[in-house]
C-alpha cells in the first residue's frame, strides 16, 4: 500500500504500543491502558490484536491469522489481507512456520516455541466485570488483590447450577497475582497458557487495554480444592475429517441426516493430520 508507513501505524504510535507491551510483560496479567489508534477496520473486529501485531512485526516475520481456529474465515482473511498490504510479510497457515500468530477465540493445537508470539484479540479484557460494573472498583480490586468477590461468583454459580457455568473466558490467576480474562478461548486452551514457551499478548481495541503472559509464567484457572477446573469433554468423539480424538472439536449438525458430527476447530492442524494419515 503506497503512502503508508510500514505496518500502517506511524513509528511514534508503534513505539508507544511497544512500550505498553513491555510494561504488560513486566507485570504479567496486569491490564495496561493504551491509546488505541484508528484503523481502517471498525473497533470490535480485532483492532486491539491488529495494533499489537502491526507494532511488533518486521519485514522478515511470517504471519498466521486465525479466527476460531480457522485460517480461511472472512474475518481472518480480511485481517491477513490488510496486514499483508501494509507490511508485505509472508503469510502461512502452518502454526510451526509462523513467527507471529494472531488469533481470536483459539490457541493453536500444535505446541509453540520461544521464537513465536501469539497475539490474541480480546473483546472484554476485564474478568471481574461479570459481577462488578464499576471500573474504579475493579481496578481497586486488582491493585489490592481483593478477589473474594470473584470466588463468591464461582460459589454462587456452583450453588445454582452445580457447575461453573463459565465456558469461554474462564478466569485465570496469572503469576499468583492478577486475575485475568484469557479472552473467549475454550476451557480446552486454558492449560496451554501455563508455563508456555511462547509469549502471549492480549489486545482489546475498543476497551484500550493490553496485557501479557510472558513465557514460563504460572497460569492457573480458578478452582476449588474439591471442585476442580475441567476442560470440555470430548470422550467418545472424534474429528470426522482427520479422526483426531485429542483436539478441540466443533459440533455441527449434519444437514442431510440431522446427526451430530464433530470436526477439528483448528483447521490447519486437521489438514496436516489428514495428509500424514493419507501418506501412511
Amino acid at each position: 500500500m503506497k503512502g503508508y508507513n510500514f505496518g500502517f501505524l506511524d513509528e511514534v504510535s508503534k513505539r508507544e504500543i511497544r512500550r505498553k507491551i513491555l510494561k504488560a510483560i513486566a507485570i504479567p496479567g496486569y491490564q495496561v491502558p493504551f491509546s488505541s489508534k484508528e484503523l481502517p477496520i471498525p473497533r470490535g473486529w480485532g483492532t486491539g490484536g491488529i495494533q499489537i501485531t502491526l507494532s511488533i512485526i518486521g519485514p522478515d516475520d511470517i504471519l498466521k491469522v486465525i479466527d476460531q481456529g480457522c485460517d480461511e474465515s472472512v474475518n481472518a482473511v480480511n485481517i491477513k489481507k490488510f496486514i499483508k498490504a501494509v507490511t508485505g510479510v509472508e503469510l502461512t497457515t502452518d502454526t510451526t512456520e509462523a513467527t507471529i500468530i494472531q488469533t481470536r477465540h483459539r490457541i493453536p493445537e500444535e505446541s509453540m516455541t520461544e521464537k513465536q508470539i501469539l497475539v490474541l484479540q480480546v473483546p472484554y479484557p476485564e474478568a471481574l466485570r461479570v459481577f462488578e460494573p464499576s471500573e474504579v472498583e475493579t481496578r481497586r480490586m486488582h491493585a489490592e488483590a481483593d478477589y473474594a468477590r470473584m470466588w463468591l461468583y464461582l460459589y454462587e454459580d456452583i450453588v445454582k447450577f452445580q457447575e461453573i457455568s463459565i465456558g469461554a473466558r474462564y478466569p485465570v490467576l496469572v503469576n499468583n497475582r492478577y486475575i485475568m480474562d484469557p479472552s473467549p478461548i475454550p476451557r480446552w486452551d486454558i492449560p496451554k497458557l501455563n508455563m508456555a514457551k511462547t509469549l502471549y499478548l492480549f489486545g482489546a481495541g475498543r476497551e484500550k487495554r493490553i496485557y501479557a503472559v510472558p513465557p514460563y509464567t504460572d497460569v492457573k484457572p480458578l478452582e476449588f480444592e474439591d471442585f476442580k477446573f475441567r476442560v470440555e469433554d470430548f470422550r467418545g468423539k472424534c474429528c470426522m475429517i482427520c479422526g483426531s480424538s485429542d483436539t478441540f472439536l466443533d459440533e455441527l449438525i449434519d444437514g442431510s441426516s440431522g446427526e451430530r458430527i464433530y470436526i477439528c476447530s483448528d483447521t490447519s492442524y486437521c489438514k496436516k493430520r489428514r495428509l500424514v494419515r493419507s501418506e501412511l
Binding site: 481483593d146 463468591l152 460459589y155
Partner: protein
C-alpha cells in the same frame, strides 16, 4: 473485668466536607450544631476517646445524627478519619501485623481487609449495607470465608450451615437471596456473617431498629446467648435505652458528634449527670 482494653480509640475525628482547621472548635453541643459556621463542613464526630475491655459490652447512645454509626464505620475501615488512633490487642492482630502496637488507621488496605475479616464482625444498621441482597444468604456468609482464603467448598458449606443453625436461620433457605427475607431474618444473616471467622470484637449498629417487639426480643436473646458462649467484646449502638439497659456494661452518650457522658450503664441510667443524658433518660421512661 480484665485490666487491659482489647480495643482503644483516641481522639477520633471525622469531618464531611473540606475542613477549615477550626471546625472542631466551632461545633458540638455548646454551639448546638455539627456544621462549621466558617466552612460549612459537617463534623460527624470529634475527639472521641474510649476503650473496650475483653468480654465487655459497651453501648453508644445518642439521638439521630449524633455520630454513632460514623464511629462504627470508622472502626470498620469503611470510611477514613480526619485523625485518630485505633488499637486492638489480640493474638489475631499479632498474626496479621506482628508484634508491637500499630495505629490501625495507618495500615495498608490489604492489612485493614484482613483485620476487618479476622478480628472484627459487624452488623450494620441497614441490612443492605452489610449484605448483597441478590446473592444467596449462604453466599453472603461464605464471602467472609473466601476472604479468609478458604477454598474447600464442602468445608465452606459446613461452616455456613453451622452459622445458620447458630443464628437460628432456616437452613432450607440457605441458597435464597436475603431480599426475600424478613427484616429479622436479614439481621440474623448479618449476624451469621459477622460471626463467620470467630472475631474477638463485634460491632452491632441498631440491630433491632425497625423490627417488631417479639422479633426484637429474640434477636436480643440471640446476642446474649452468643455473648455468653463466645465471650467476645461488643460495641452496640442504639437509641433504644431498653436495649442498652439489658445488654451493656458501660455506655457512652453522644450528642452532635461528641461524647457528653460515659460510665457504667446502671449509673448513667439511674443518675445521669449531663442535661442531655437526663433528657434522653427521662423521655424514654
Amino acid at each position: 473485668m480484665e485490666l487491659f482494653p482489647i480495643l482503644e480509640v483516641r481522639n477520633l475525628t471525622k469531618i464531611y466536607g473540606k475542613p477549615c482547621g477550626e471546625c472542631i472548635s466551632h461545633t458540638g453541643p455548646i454551639y448546638e450544631t455539627n456544621i462549621c459556621s466558617r466552612c460549612n463542613s459537617l463534623v460527624a464526630c470529634a475527639d472521641i476517646n474510649f476503650e473496650l475491655y475483653p468480654g465487655e459490652i459497651l453501648g453508644i447512645v445518642g439521638e439521630s445524627g449524633s455520630g454513632k454509626s460514623t464511629v462504627i464505620k470508622l472502626l470498620a475501615f469503611d470510611v477514613e478519619p480526619l485523625q485518630g488512633e485505633y488499637y486492638i490487642k489480640h493474638e489475631k492482630i499479632i498474626n496479621i501485623l506482628g508484634n508491637g502496637q500499630k495505629n490501625l488507621f495507618n495500615l495498608t488496605p490489604f492489612e485493614k481487609r484482613q483485620i476487618r475479616n479476622q478480628v472484627i464482625g459487624i452488623v450494620y444498621q441497614y441490612p443492605y449495607l452489610g449484605l448483597k441482597m441478590n446473592i444467596s444468604a449462604g453466599g453472603n456468609i461464605a464471602e467472609n470465608l473466601l476472604v479468609a482464603g478458604l477454598r474447600n467448598l464442602k468445608r465452606i458449606r459446613e461452616k455456613v450451615l453451622e452459622l445458620f443453625e447458630k443464628t437460628e436461620l432456616p437452613i432450607q433457605r440457605i441458597d435464597e437471596p436475603p431480599i426475600k427475607f424478613s427484616g429479622g431474618m436479614q439481621q440474623r444473616v448479618q449476624i451469621a456473617k459477622a460471626l463467620s471467622n470467630n472475631p474477638p470484637v463485634l460491632f452491632l449498629d441498631e440491630v433491632t431498629t425497625g423490627l417488631d417487639v417479639s422479633v426484637k426480643a429474640r434477636i436480643l436473646d440471640l446476642i446474649k446467648n452468643l455473648h455468653h458462649d463466645y465471650n467476645f467484646s461488643i460495641i452496640i449502638v442504639s437509641h433504644d435505652l431498653s436495649i442498652i439497659r439489658v445488654l451493656t456494661h458501660r455506655t457512652i452518650v453522644m450528642k452532635l458528634g461528641r461524647v457528653v457522658e460515659a460510665g457504667l450503664t446502671d449509673q448513667i441510667l439511674e443518675d445521669p449527670q449531663h442535661p442531655y443524658t437526663q433528657l434522653l433518660v427521662n423521655s424514654q421512661l
